[in-house]
């Protein structure tokens, strides 16, 4: 006897005979003979009695079909079957429409969710099909009812939901020394330890490339200079050995000669050993330069994830003060300045300058010259960004200037802003760790729901109650996902677990990753603080001190609740100032449907990122720094400070360093400068005008306008979604 029915979405409900009766009746009414109540009763009774205790909808419908076929009313059976088919097609129609959108390579918000992905390519389409059909599976079978409801009602967004079933983790900071010194196996190739700079740079690419396919987020190198520096020396030694062969002299004593800097010089006037030494240096510098150029070129051309995306790669550097480390930094910056191919700006890797007093910032610092070069490069090429190692929350008590592995205690960031540093289960470090998953809260919706309450105190009290509720749902959902992820087997992420993730090398391939997954972080993000504050107080935090105080109270509250969750669930939870590419429009569109167009809140088609002052708001860089800085210590999961500058930054690299000074003065963790950069694709002419449509030199209309979207550079805005395009058009310079 049937007791319960399993519905198509997996939910289990009590058996209801009336549903069967209604369906048969409906089919009968479409025939000439009409309904036969007695037969309906008879069939329903037989199915109810003969069925097993627990049956699926489809199984019951199969039984109805059989009973009708065996009855005198075969024409009803036909109608019933036809009806079932139609329903089935209708259920699939949504998928069909979505498939058509992808097949026709239409530009819309499905295909442009991610500006770095080419969904027009076959591999890209294949991935989009998979992604779009996986999401409903996750909703139906992997999410808890409360999480599913919270998503449906637009309170939260679960990032990388399409990857949920794969158990993949988000991102990792590569301990590249592991790979360079011991070699590794990827795909069908085994790689020996690197011996020279060319190989080391290629292996760095392969490491990023391979791990990208084992994860759903970005890949970063936390100390690019420190890791590659030894190979500058080994390449130099190779050059000395070549000279030994050429001259027949024993130059062994030069191999470990102390060099202040690897600087290219003319050989004119140099004699004997001095000449040989300078020759070796010149060749080494050229090789390093070439290797850095190759690295950048590879990171922009080699596709991963089925061949439709280049790696979301980032590299951190700036604090290695050895001659070899400085050579890496200088040549990396030089080749970045020159550009790739015919001089175009490299989109990847995102480069991040580690700014540290005493090392890489002040005029008396050993790497000050390279810091100045970095400012000049970013004025033309948007990178490097700047991570502030002096910010109170980015410091590490174990850092020592004479420790060769001091980079382990230097915070490194994912270019997009994801920050992993604090650790409840081991050393505080960025290296060998990453984020596990993110879920973002729609602060705006919570605030809109409180708007009808006239009394301010009551309104705010209700807001905080709602916020608490959603925070708890988000924490439980992240904990659920964690518990699902930890069941992944080590062999599912072969390179990540054997060489990159903290502690992974101690596990066997068939074991689960449970013993080491707690090295990762769970991020609770937020979006639209500005619109949230407008809804609650009438003003955003850039224009009112009162709103700023409330904004800090809200994010401070999130931070303190997240600390509670760390205790309660025993995970590394953190608050993320969410970068929101696909998300910025989705939340708004849905909220607009529910609440209509509310001035200052839903009247644009995007919400402002995280804690940022709205892009349309006129304010000076100083004011922006002052308003946004206090959110940085609260958002350990990552944050970024942007300034849009007027004018041509290449004419004024001091403007870039002035912004780094703002970061230094205001305790800002991570920041970067946006400005206009146009490039004629025909003749290479470059300028910084706001609206260049035609090259003033060769009159070509092929102008590449570089823009930054959630931390990544995009040369063409064709792949931007509508919400992000709207945001771009609203951006104003800060002056």
């Amino acid at each position: 006897m049937i007791q319960v029915v399993v519905k198509r979405d997996g939910r289990v409900v009590g058996y209801n005979e009336e549903k069967i009766k209604a369906a048969i009746r409906k089919a009968m009414l479409t025939t000439d003979l009409g309904e036969d109540e007695a037969l309906i009763h008879k069939i329903a009774d037989r199915i109810g009695a003969r069925g097993t205790e627990r049956m699926t909808v489809e199984e019951i419908q199969d039984m109805v079909e059989l009973e009708l076929m065996n009855s005198p009313r075969k024409e009803v059976a036909k109608r019933y079957i036809a009806y079932r088919d139609q329903r089935s097609i209708a259920r699939k129609a949504k998928t069909r429409d979505m498939f058509h959108e992808i097949i026709e390579a239409k530009n819309n918000d499905i295909t442009r969710e991610n500006a770095n992905m080419n969904t027009d390519s076959p591999a890209g389409m294949m991935m989009k099909f998979a992604s779009e059909t996986t999401k409903p599976f996750v909703d139906d079978y992997l999410l808890s009812a409360e999480a599913r409801e919270a998503v449906r009602h637009n309170y939260i967004h679960i990032h990388d939901k399409d990857y949920y079933p794969t158990k993949s983790l988000t991102c990792v900071q590569h301990p590249l020394d592991n790979i360079l010194s011991y070699g590794f196996i990827a795909g069908h190739g085994e790689s020996r330890p690197a011996k020279r700079i060319e190989t080391a740079s290629i292996i760095a690419c392969i490491s990023l490339e391979t791990a990208q396919n084992e994860m759903h987020g970005g890949q970063a190198i936390p100390a690019f200079d420190f890791y590659l520096a030894p190979f500058v020396r080994s390449s130099f030694i190779e050059e000395i050995e070549t000279l030994e062969q050429l001259t027949g002299k024993d130059l062994g004593h030069l191999k470990n000669v102390e060099l202040k800097d690897y600087t290219k010089k003319e050989l004119d006037g140099l004699e004997g050993e001095e000449r040989l030494l300078q020759h070796a240096i010149n060749h080494t510098v050229s090789r390093v330069h070439q290797a850095m150029e190759a690295f950048i070129h590879n990171m922009n051309t080699i596709h991963s994830r089925g061949g439709n995306q280049v790696v979301f790669s980032s590299i951190n550097y700036g604090t290695d003060t050895s001659a070899e480390g400085r050579c890496i930094i200088r040549e990396l910056l030089n080749s970045t300045y020159e550009g790739v191919g015919n001089g175009a700006t490299a989109i990847f890797p995102i480069q991040i300058w580690k700014k540290k007093r005493g090392v890489s910032y002040l005029p008396e610092d050993p790497n000050y010259d390279l810091y100045r070069l970095a400012c000049k490069v970013t004025a033309r090429r948007f990178f490097p960004n700047f991570v502030n190692l002096d910010a109170t929350f980015n410091q590490h008590e174990k850092w020592r200037a004479d420790d060769p592995k001091r980079y382990l205690y230097e915070v490194a960031t994912m270019g997009c802003r994801t920050r992993v540093f604090e650790n409840r289960f081991g050393e505080k470090t960025s290296v060998g760790r990453g984020n596990l998953s993110f879920t973002t809260i729609n602060l705006v919706r919570l605030a809109i729901e409180c708007m009808p309450i006239q009394d301010r105190e009551e309104r705010l009290a209700l807001f905080f109650r709602k916020l608490d509720n959603v925070l708890e749902i988000a924490a439980r959902q992240l904990n659920d996902r964690f518990n699902f992820q930890k069941t992944a087997l080590v062999k599912q992420f072969p390179l990540l677990m054997s060489k990159l993730w903290n502690g992974g090398d101690k596990l066997k391939p068939e074991e689960t990753i449970e013993p080491v997954i707690n090295q990762g972080t769970l991020g609770i993000g937020f979006i639209g603080l500005a619109e949230c504050l407008i809804a609650l107080t009438g003003k955003h935090h850039g224009e009112s001190e009162d709103s700023q105080a409330l904004g800090l109270k809200i994010v401070g509250h999130m931070r303190s609740r997240v600390n509670d969750f760390c205790e309660q669930y025993q995970h590394n939870f953190s608050v993320l100032a969410t970068p929101a590419e696909g998300l910025s429009g989705k939340f708004t569109a849905k909220d607009r449907k529910s609440f209509g167009i509310l001035p200052g809140i839903t009247d644009k088609i995007y919400y402002t990122n995280s804690n940022h002052v709205p892009v349309y708001y006129h304010c000076s860089p100083r004011h922006k720094a002052e308003v946004e800085a206090p959110y940085h210590p609260l958002t350990g999961g990552g944050h970024i400070f942007y300034v849009e500058i007027d004018g041509d930054a290449t004419h004024n690299p001091d403007a870039i360093s002035a912004i780094v000074d703002l970061m230094d003065e205001h305790n800002i963790g991570y920041g970067s400068v946006n400005h206009n950069r146009n490039r004629c694709m025909e003749c290479g002419y470059e300028d910084a005008s706001a609206d260049l449509h035609e090259c003033p030199v060769c009159h070509s209309k092929a102008i590449d306008k570089l823009q930054r979207i959630t931390g990544y550079l995009v040369g063409t805005t064709d792949r931007w979604n509508n919400a992000k395009l709207a945001e771009l058009n609203d951006r104003i310079v800060h002056e």
């Binding site: 860089p621 100083r622 004419h651």
Partner: protein
């Protein structure tokens, strides 16, 4: 009313009026009337809004950027600008001035306020804008006749020394 200036706009944190980020103070009033001037609305001496030195200094001190005095032509108001320039100097900030006069013309004036103002100034961008000498690749100036004069270095060396960009 030497304490009050007519100001078109105070731009807080611009990158186009000298090196680094700067606070630029656009003063009303100019008689040069250069053809092709991109800001003729600043010509009338009664344009803009009155601002006291205190009000201007509040913005300067908040931003803590070096200052550019421009307009209009600030050198029509040397007397009135003197107290502002002193306050900027006292705050440890540098000063650039844009003027349509040449340095030589200013020196010939032999006006005490002008001399004192220039003594507080780091760089003078001098000379009228000449449309046929316009060159958009020039840095921090409009036409090639204009000079970025490093006043301190010029004084020390007794000849005109141009400011070295980058």
């Amino acid at each position: 009313m030497s304490d009050t200036l007519r100001v078109m706009r105070v731009v807080e944190g611009t990158s186009v009026d000298g090196p680094g980020l700067r606070t630029s103070i656009y003063l009303a009033g100019c008689n040069h009337r250069c053809p092709g001037c991109h800001n003729p609305s600043t010509w009338p001496f009664d344009a803009g809004e009155p601002m006291t030195v205190d009000e201007i200094m509040e913005k300067v001190l908040y931003n803590r950027f070096n200052v550019t005095l421009t307009g209009g032509d600030p050198l029509y108001h040397a007397e009135a600008l003197l107290s502002l320039a002193k306050r900027i100097r006292e705050a440890g900030l540098g000063i650039w001035i844009y003027t349509g006069f040449t340095l030589e013309e200013l020196q010939e004036k032999n006006d005490e306020a002008t001399v004192n103002l220039l003594a507080l100034t780091d760089v003078l961008v001098d000379g009228p804008f000449i449309e046929k000498l316009k060159d958009p690749t020039l840095i921090f100036r409009g036409s090639s006749n204009q000079r970025l004069i490093d006043l301190r270095a010029s004084e020390a060396q007794g000849k005109i020394i141009e400011y070295n960009i980058i």
